[in-house]
Symmetry: none
Subunit: 155 residues, 2 copies
Amino acid sequence: MQSQNISDIIEKYLKSILADAEHVEIRRSEIADLFNVVPSQINYVIKTRFTIQNGYLVESKRGGGGYIRIEKVNLLDDADVLDTLIQVIGDSITQRDAYAVVQSLYEDDVLNRREAQLILVATDRNTLGVDDHDLENSLRARIIIGILNHLRYES
Amino acid sequence: MQSQNISDIIEKYLKSILADAEHVEIRRSEIADLFNVVPSQINYVIKTRFTIQNGYLVESKRGGGGYIRIEKVNLLDDADVLDTLIQVIGDSITQRDAYAVVQSLYEDDVLNRREAQLILVATDRNTLGVDDHDLENSLRARIIIGILNHLRYES
DNA sequence: TTATCTTTGACTAATATTGACTTTCATTAT
DNA sequence: ATAATGAAAGTCAATATTAGTCAAAGATAA
């Protein structure tokens, strides 16, 4: 029933490969052909679903023998990951990116499911309910950063 | 069995599906077509009949392959206690009163220490960082109410 | 009558898809 | 070496495809 759009399907395909392997290396046009989409759609999928907030590193090369390589990274190997995340968030973050950040923290066992849900609810667009978009995104950033700082202090 | 307006019929239709399934996932325009109403009527039905107070969670996505998903959730025993708190909070709450609310939830074992801390951080004056006091208090109210509503059911 | 609930549709917002154009890189030709 | 060529990937804006909001108009109930 779900995943009726091709971007989701391509996302799942790539993630299914990453479930068994350290990284995935593709030729953009091949994947585009495989799913019958235009090549730039692969960029769209990567840009919206394989961000650093999601815990993925992407590198690529153009020209003959070019490729796109996606790697799943463990954000929390480093002691100062929280700092890194705080930097990435900056003073503004969209709901989508916030979801990715919280999801990553959950996957890396920094937060349990309940805590992750609480944070998502607290920073949800509808919860905050402000019409000014910039304000909404900056509030969300402050809340998440506040919590990250608290987690660091705690541990 | 009185007044069978279309909203009631759509409500029954969706609930009949939910009687056999964990959730329903619809395409708004399809349901609208099926019952010969404008699409926004589906929003009206959902907003008036599938609220969290009634034990329904709604999530949706726009764009290609978009959907509306309605899930029936299990309301917990604490639900009415939380309802009362929600009523009391209304649309504005000071940091001091918020502290009292969270404290009592902690004492009643609705929240553990860590969760309570998270909520206090998220609603702290300095975290929110808005000059306008009324805005600050109403944001705090929305965040806490959002969380209380979330605590009313189990995922 | 008056208040509340329902229906409608114009407008808005979010997300996805597409394609024209650009940039980068390796290889081949001069 | 250097230039020309072709084979990749990248960018961006236009368009398409959904769902959301809101307020006015209409219907129903108190």
